[in-house]
């Protein structure tokens, strides 16, 4: 009776069964093209044999090499960040000087449409380059890259994410899009660049350029590569914000599902080196070579005399609430827009046209705002790089124009640091509305674009507005510093958009070199996250789920202990025998898309040797391993051909990370009749769970061990199903 019940549970259609539970939504939107990484090391005979042949020397060398790779990651990531920084700085200063010249020239004649058209043109040209690169050369380089890196570190193999081509498109693309006046930042792409650099350097080869340098080949496996990538992402954050601690914590918070202490130390090393390299180069670029403490290196500038009172903390909480609501609104609108884009803007040329439209509208809106709002400030009090007089009196400049005639990052800095009274509330208010809309519209376009700076800028605008309002209410109070409120606003808006907590707090602390302000920042960010989470997910998670990546959250879904492996596993399982015919392997690989196959052996009834009593799981073999075996024709029947050659792990490492497809492998008719002995290649000790294992239990195994396949055994230890990441990801994630 009991058996019958379990059988029933088995064979009821899975959706039907789950829908009755009601509490757990099934996310059917899991895209098939994503595969898992193999974080779990395959302990097969080859690997054991290799370990036997290596001594302490090898372990030592590998350890040194690992540190060296982290050093290189830090340096190279910083170099790329410097290139992007300096390119944007130089080119945009040419652009704005050119525009200022024409605005000044056209003041007296009726030709204001000329600088406007020039502005549109100087936006369109770089953006066109950027979007063509992204759309036609490497679409995976679109967006900020943080969602993709997050997926990668979570254990999902996002195709083409860490290729050198992606790196090139990303860094040129982001330079172009910032230069093109889009409401974007360069920080996210820098983080992605760091990840690509890490993946590239640690492998000692590039498949894109088909060049193998033959070093670091012992790092050619998903396990090592992923550790390096988390270091690269950290180095990217460190280079983008000058925040080494923030980098480590970013990697910890957003990225790695699997973490160990020695990795933390190495990642911190890479981040520190990255910040150091960046500071050395940028201090030389700014004309203070060697002065690593030069204050211009701080991303958002130091707040020298920032102080806060106890009674301000409720104000910070309020601002956090506002940031959470605005962030949720941003995410909602962006989600709808992305859905619209996915449905209607599907052709590539249409994507390019959309980008061009956004960039010309950005220029037009900014220009209209400059022309319409009169906000004149005396020259020489605030630092303005390109003061435009426009309709102001002589000796004055238009404050509106000065906000727009600089990069978004510089605008953030001026909202943070301009002395009280240097902005008009009306200007800042209109600027906030426009920038909120523009950045929401821009994110998700087919360009490389970071979200950090636009969010910070939007937040800084309304934060400063709040600060000005407080200043108006309490004219004589010393604590009303609009710059301080701009910082809080920026933090809360960014927190509301991306819902990061610890890393964001630390990044902001480090980028403003202000530890005493840590508590207000933390309070604001926590409030923003909590309030935002009431409405929807963070923008990165929204985009991850839209693209159907099977990502696993921090924790298993709540209240799911009553869901058993029997309910969410996949079955029937495609399995191989220990000695399997080539024909069956080839056909199976061709007909299925699975990437892991349990290997079983038949068990005979002890009383009657003739009848098979069932099968027994004896290992797990990966598609990639099978491909390499077929490619090298390691068959039982032609043993004499390959016995002489050494069959080592090197064979598998050389093919990593891009294995040929099964269609690309030629197997002759004769070879089809041969057999393969899988026992030397398979992982003989895969982790398994019994049928009654609950969802949280399986989830923790996946998360903690970085599993890819988990065979499910019944009470007679016979293989009945297999759990993969996609089976778990269907249950959604709770953060």
């Amino acid at each position: 009776m009991a058996k019958k019940k379990t059988m029933l549970l088995f064979y009821r259609p899975i959706n039907d069964r789950l829908s009755t539970r009601g509490t757990h939504e099934i996310n059917e939107n899991i895209a098939p093209q994503y595969e898992s990484l193999d974080y779990d090391i395959c302990e097969n005979t080859l690997m054991r044999r290799e370990e036997d042949s290596k001594g302490d020397k090898f372990v030592f060398r590998k350890r040194i090499a690992r540190w060296f790779v982290f050093l290189l990651i830090g340096v190279v990531t910083a170099l790329i960040a410097c290139c992007i920084d300096i390119a944007i700085e130089e080119l945009s200063s040419i652009k704005f000087r050119f525009l200022k010249y024409y605005v000044d020239l056209c003041m007296n004649d009726r030709c204001m449409y000329i600088p406007h058209l020039y502005w549109v043109a100087t936006n369109i040209v770089p953006v066109l380059i950027g979007t063509i690169l992204v759309t036609y050369v490497e679409p995976v380089a679109a967006g900020s890259g943080i969602p993709q890196v997050k997926c990668y570190l979570n254990g999902v193999k996002v195709p083409r994410i860490v290729r050198i081509k992606t790196l090139l498109v990303k860094s040129i693309g982001v330079t172009c899009s910032v230069l093109g006046g889009l409401a974007v930042g360069k920080e996210g792409p820098m983080i992605h660049s760091g990840a690509v650099v890490a993946a590239g350097i640690s492998q000692g080869k590039t498949t894109s350029l088909s060049k193998d340098f033959h070093f670091f080949n012992y790092f050619r496996e998903d396990h090592e590569k992923r550790d390096f990538v988390s270091g690269g992402a950290a180095a990217g954050v460190a280079a983008a914000f000058g925040a080494p601690m923030g980098g480590v914590l970013f990697s910890l918070e957003e990225g790695s599902s699997f973490w160990n202490q020695s990795l933390t130390w190495r990642i911190f090393f890479a981040s520190m080196i990255s910040t150091f390299t960046l500071n050395v180069i940028l201090s030389a670029y700014h004309g203070f070579p060697g002065q690593l403490t030069y204050s211009g290196l701080l991303n958002f500038g130091a707040f020298p005399n920032i102080s806060y009172e106890f009674f301000e903390i409720p104000l910070f909480v309020l601002m956090g609430v506002l940031g959470g609501v605005l962030g949720a609104l941003f995410n909602y609108v962006n989600l709808k827009l992305t859905l619209f884009r996915m449905k209607y803007i599907t052709k590539k040329w249409l994507k390019v046209v959309e980008v061009l439209v956004v960039s010309s509208v950005s220029a037009t809106v900014a220009f209209a705002m400059i022309m319409m709002i009169d906000d004149c400030r005396p020259l020489g009090q605030d630092p303005t790089k390109f003061p435009v007089q426009l309709y102001c009196g002589d000796g004055e400049y238009s404050a509106v124009a000065s906000i727009w005639f600089q990069n978004p990052e510089a605008s953030v800095r001026s909202l943070f640091h301009d002395p009280p009274g240097s902005h008009n509330p009306c200007t800042v208010g209109v600027f906030f509305a426009i920038y909120f809309a523009l950045s929401c519209w821009t994110y998700g376009l087919s360009v490389s674009s970071g979200l950090f700076i636009p969010s910070l800028l939007t937040g800084a605008a309304w934060g400063r507005l709040a600060g000005m309002f407080l200043e108006y209410l309490f004219p004589n109070a010393a604590w009303t510093n609009p710059g301080k409120y701009a910082l809080i606003g920026a933090a809360s808006q960014l927190g509301g958009n991306v819902r990061m907590t610890i890393s964001l707090t630390v990044i902001l602390i480090e980028a403003t070199a202000n530890i005493t302000f840590g508590l207000p920042l933390m309070i604001t960010l926590i409030t923003a996250k909590w309030i935002g989470d009431l409405f929807n997910e963070g923008i990165y998670d929204l985009h991850i789920h839209l693209s159907g990546v099977p990502i696993l959250g921090w924790e298993p879904p709540q209240l799911s202990h009553n869901i058993f492996a029997s309910q969410f596993m996949s079955y029937p399982v495609v399995k191989f025998n220990c000695i399997e015919s080539v024909a069956r392997i080839v056909d199976t690989l061709r007909d299925t898309i699975h990437s892991g196959f349990p290997v079983v052996t038949s068990v005979h009834d002890p009383r009657n040797q003739q009848t098979e009593a069932g099968t027994k799981l004896c290992g797990l073999i990966l598609r990639s391993q099978l491909i390499v075996i077929l490619q090298n024709k390691i068959f039982v029947e032609n043993k004499e051909e390959w016995m002489g050659k050494s069959i080592t792990l090197k064979l598998f490492r050389d093919a990593y990370p891009r294995y040929p497809k099964i269609e690309q492998i030629y197997v002759s008719e004769l070879e089809r009749s041969y057999t393969v002995d899988l026992r030397n290649f398979m992982n003989p000790t895969p982790y398994t769970v019994p049928l009654a294992a609950s969802l949280p239990r399986v989830f923790k195994l996946f998360r903690g061990l970085g599993l890819r396949h988990l065979p499910v055994l019944d009470n007679r230890f016979e293989l009945v199903g297999i759990v993969t990441r996609k089976d778990l990801a269907k249950y959604g994630t709770n953060h």
Binding site: N108, R110, Y113, V353, S360, A363, C392, G393, D394, E396
Partner: protein, 271 residues
């Protein structure tokens, strides 16, 4: 425990008393020394000190008088030179009796350092006003009292503009037109010659007299007389902008519509 504490405490009191006694004797010595010093000041060093006091008072007086409107540099350049030379004298002279240098006698004697501080503040006033940039430098690169050519030219142009404005001030309708030329002469000269030159060679420092005069004139021109650049009709700009702003509507409308049409077309059932 307690007793040993009180012992330490008591011994400390003894120590303190001892210290007080011993220091009071040494201060007595110092006072005598000081009286000695005052007597010594009867020499030429004392004269220099008095001189310095006079000169710096005059200079300060001049500075305050010429603070608004700002004509500090041109008016007080004489005073500044005198203060400078007296202070240098203190540095270089020697007491004609003892042969001790006045510098050792007067400067760095105490922690308040009145002489040094006052000199610093006087020099700072000069520096902050960028007054060096109003005057000619001689061949050796030292400052002279002669105004620079550019300063003279600026003053000339300013006078023309100011005269014109004063003359037509009451006629607010025509003043902008009539004085446009002299005012623009002045403004252009300031922007293109003085300002650019300063940015190129003198790290952007312009003689404060000039800056203030220019600011005042500009303020009269733009604020009081309201001679602002008038807004031309921007019809072409409005047309171009509205065209560009309508682009998103076209883009999204067209792509939505074409998708709609296509899906309609494909969903017609074939019989």
């Amino acid at each position: 425990m307690l007793t040993s504490m009180s012992f330490i405490f008591r011994s400390n009191i003894f120590l303190a008393i001892f210290l007080i006694v011993s220091t009071s004797t040494t201060t007595g010595d110092k006072l005598e020394e000081k009286f000695q010093l005052v007597n010594d000041l009867e020499g030429n060093c004392e004269k220099l000190l008095e001189d310095y006091a006079d000169k710096s008072a005059t200079y300060m007086y001049c500075a305050i008088l010429n603070a608004r409107p700002f004509t500090f540099c041109e008016s007080c350049v004489g005073g500044y030179f005198e203060v400078l030379s007296t202070y240098l004298d203190i540095y270089e002279s020697k007491d004609n009796e003892t042969g001790q240098s006045c510098k050792d006698k007067l400067l760095n004697r105490d922690r308040v350092e009145i002489l040094e501080e006052t000199f610093k503040s006087l020099a700072k006033l000069w520096g902050r006003s960028s007054c060096d940039h109003c005057f000619e430098l001689d061949k050796n690169g030292t400052l002279t009292k002669n105004l620079r050519n550019s300063t003279i030219e600026f003053n000339r142009r300013h006078k023309i503009a100011q005269d014109c404005i004063n003359e037509h001030r009451n006629d607010s309708t025509s003043v902008c037109e009539t004085c446009k030329k002299p005012y623009h002469n002045l403004n252009e000269f300031y922007n293109n010659d003085i300002k650019l030159n300063a940015e190129e060679y003198e790290s952007g420092n312009v003689c404060m007299d000039i800056v203030d005069l220019m600011n005042a004139t500009r303020s009269i021109w733009s604020r009081d007389l309201l001679c602002l650049p008038h807004r031309n009709s921007q019809v072409p700009l409005v047309i171009v902008s509205s065209l560009i702003l309508s682009l998103p509507l076209w883009l999204y409308g067209m792509s939505f519509f074409s998708h709609y049409v296509r899906s309609r077309y494909f969903s017609i059932p074939s019989h």
